[in-house]
Amino acid sequence: MTTHGGFQPVFCTVVPPHVLDRLARSDDPARSGPARRTLRRDGELRTLRQVTTEFRLAAEPDTRAPSDQPARTIHDAGHRTDLPGAVVRREGEPPGQDATVNRAYSGLGATFDLYLRVYGRHSIDGEGLPLVATVHYDEQYDNAFWNGEQMVFGDGDGEVFLDFTLPLDVIGHELTHGVTQHTANLTYYGQSGALNESVSDVFGSLIKQYALGQTAAEADWLIGAGLLAPGVTGSALRSMKAPGTAYDDDVLGKDPQPATMAGYVRTGRDNGGVHINSGIPNHAFYLAAAALGGHAWEKAGQIWYDVLTGGELAERALFADFAGLTVKAARERYGDGGDEFEAVRKAWEQVGVRIL
């Protein structure tokens, strides 16, 4: 952590909050007591107490098979920036008055469902990891992010951006960053970073399509539809179907995403343009899914999932590496020269990614 110039990162806890949440729900007071006290602590003594808790956890390994039910906890940051914030809804508790909390809870459930029902994956890590989200982060905060352990959502400023829990695909996008971290762990810079972003957009969109029961032809293929405030000229933040067309606004500027390698942007900003060049693999996925028709999560989604979790994708993979593995996965799962193989191969060809 030498790059942080000596100051302590505020979120860098020893025991992930979700572990504490799980402990806090335990029936055994020896486990739940310390965890509940830890969750109530504010920042200063947090690390010390969590170290104690971690040793206790290590002595009692959890050997149960992962559940087919999610283990969700929603926290409220109260417009401050301490994570995770106060617990406001645990798994199984009924909806409350706060629509943001309810949306986050439902969105985590929808995401858990797609991964389990379609791909047989138990949560982010495949082993039933509890899902943790914090809402109402900071004041008028125009963002949502994954901090390595949990999802964080801002309320938006109300003038350009609305509440970041509004689009289901944004919730699915953030949670998929967790899936990627636990699988291919694509480095968040340059082309591997754009692939990391694209994988989050792909599965974020699939989570929405699955929840709505849409076919590839029916889906809007937009990321962040409903997030822009009334008056902003745009339909969403990104379009997988037509990258570069999601918005064109006086305040926001114009959607900078390229659809093909001809428009590839070289920049050091935004971690090397991860939110810009993701348009290229996003569009490749759309093209493959559109060519195959039907439900995009069934074939195109399965092929992308196979690559993400197959163990062959390098952390610093380039677009061509990823493309090559999708073609290989299509062949292995659906046969050489089949429709799936051809659709995937042609999709990458159309966006200008040459498969080596």
Binding site: H4, W146, E174
Partner: protein, 88 residues
């Protein structure tokens, strides 16, 4: 004192900039103190961020530091928020 903030990244990937020139402002002393505290604790090269997290570059006259969400000090958070709002 000239205070500049550039914010990049974030879920939307949209860049924001702000700049405040404090000379002649009645609250200049307050700005100076805040800016000094904000740049005192930041590295001179961009730190590793988190997925979809904002990255910030803060320039106070000829000094530049970087920081990234969610690892901002309170002073950095206050400064970037004010500069992006008032100096947009």
């Amino acid at each position: 004192m000239r205070i500049q903030v550039r914010r990049t990244g974030g879920f939307a990937g949209i860049e924001r900039r702000g700049e405040v020139e404090t000379s002649g402002r009645p609250d200049a002393a307050e700005w100076h103190a805040l800016a000094e505290r904000a740049v005192a604790s930041g590295p001179g090269t961009p730190p590793a961020g988190v997925p979809d997290g904002f990255s910030y570059r803060i320039t106070v006259d000829d000094r530049t530091v970087y920081c990234a969400d969610p690892r901002l000090t309170e002073d950095q958070r206050t400064l970037v928020s004010r500069v992006l709002k008032e100096g947009a």
